[in-house]
Amino acid sequence: MIVLYRILHSAFQSFRRNGWLSLVAIFMMSQALLILSIFFVLSLVINSAVQVINSKLDLAIYFQDNATEEEILAFQGEIEALPEVTRVTYVSPKEALGRYLEQNQGNQQLLDVIGGDEDFFPASLEIKVKDPFVIEGLVDDFSQGPHASVVKSTSFTNNQEVARRLRAFASFLGRGGFLLGAIFLLISLLIIFNTIRIAIFTRREEIEIMKLVGATDWYIRWPFIIEGMLYGIFATLLSTLVIYLAHIFFAQPFFAKYLFSDLGPFGQQLLSGALLLKIIGIQVLVGLVVGAVSSLMATKRYLQI
C-alpha cells in the first residue's frame, strides 16, 4: 500500500513540478488525438457516403405497354428469388403517374404534357441490389431471359456511364479512406511516442540518480508510466473540448443543413451525442495505452545502469 501511495504521489508531484514539460506533452498528444478523431469522423462520413451512393444505384426495369400485370408479377417473383437482390417493388403506370403529379405539383407545364393520360408512364419494377457491381450481370440476364420480349428498357441502359463513375468513386473512397486511416493512425502514434520520449530524455539524469540510490527498476518506471497516462487523459480532455466546440459551432449549423440531409439516418447519428462519446472513448483508450507503453519503452534505455 505504502509503495502504491509513493508511486502515485511521485507521479502526480513530478507531473506538477515539471509543469511546462507536461503542458507541451499534453498539447502534442492532444493534436495527435485530434488528428485521429477527425479522421474517425471523416471515415464515418466517407463510409456513409459510399452507402448512400450504393443505395441510390438501383435498377429499374420498364415494360412494354403490352405486358400484362400477371406477367410482370411473375417476373417480380423470379427476381426476388435471386440472392443478390434485396427488394423488388412493382410500380404500376397509375402509381408512376401519381408520383409524377406529386413531384411536379407547382409546374403546370409539366403536368399539361401528360394531360391526364393514365398510361403515360410504363409499368416498372424497382430493384434494390446488395452490391451495385451486380447490376450489369442482372441486366444481361433480363435482356436475354424468357421475359426479354416484354422489357422495354432498363435504367441501367439510360444511366450506364453515371452509374459506372459513381461506383468507381465509391470504391475509391472506401479504399482511400482505409489507407488514409492507417497513415493518420501511424502519425498519431509516432507523435505521442516521440513526445514522451523527449519528455523522458530530459529527465534521464533523474532516472540515473534513482538507480544509484538503490531504487528498483519498477519503482522508477511506474511514476513515469502513470505520468504518461496523465498526459493521455489531459490530452483527451483538451481535444474533446476542441471537437465539442467544432461540433456546436460548425458541424451542427452547417453540416446539418447542407451535407447530412442527403445522408439520411446516418446524418442524424453523426450529430448525436453517442458519436461524441464514442470518439472520447477512442481517445481515452489510445491516450492511456500509448502514453503508458511509450513511457515504458522510453525509460528502458536509461535504466541500464
Partner: protein, 225 residues
Amino acid sequence: MIIFDKISKFYGQNEALKNVSFKIRPKEFVVIVGPSGAGKSTLIRLLTCEEKPSFGRITINGRDIHLLKKKHIPYYRRQIGVVYQDFKLLHQKTVFENVAFALEVSNKPPAEIEKQVNQVLKLVGLEKKKDSFPHELSGGEVQRVAIARALVFEPRLLLADEPTGNLDPKTAWGIIQLLIKINDLGTTVILATHNKDIVDRLHKRVITLVDGKLTRDIRRGRYDV
C-alpha cells in the same frame, strides 16, 4: 574487509585500471589520489556496480560483488553511500525529499523516514534548510545534502568521488571534516580526490594511482604523484 584482487578495466582499447590490488579494513579512512584520468572514478564505479571489471574480482566481506544478479543490485546499493562531484540531486525535490527518497525506495514507513531524515540532516547541519530546493542552496550545502542522502541508510561504506571538486577551499575542508566525523562514527570512507591540500592535511592512508597503476600505498601519506 574490501579486497581488490588484480583488477583491470578496459574501455575499448583504453586500459583505465591495470592489475590493481589492495585491501581496505573496516572503519578505515582511505584516500585515493592521482591526476585526472588516473582511474579513481573507475575504481569508485566498480564499487557501485555501475561497471564490471574486465579482469580480477572485488570482494566485500568475502562476496564477489560483480556476481550479484541484476535484480539484487538495488539492494546492494542501499548498503553503500556514494557522494559525487556533481552532487546528483533530484532538482524538483526538496532537501528533505531528496534524502527521504533513498529511504522511500526501500519501503520504510513514513514515521521512521521522517525521524531518520531529520537526524541525518542535523548531522550535516542542514535541518533548517530541509524545505529548500537544491538550486536555492550554496555549493557546500548541496554537497551536504548529497552526503546526508548517502548516510541515511547508515551504510558501513561511504564512497566519495571528488566531493570537493566544485567547492572553494574553505567549504571543501568543511565537507572533509564531515567525512572525518562520519568515519569516527564507524563508517569506512573511501575518498577519491586530486586536491593536494586536503590530502596533505588529512594524514590518512593514501593510495596513489598513475595511469591506472597503483604506484604507492602509504599509511600516513601525502599527495605525491
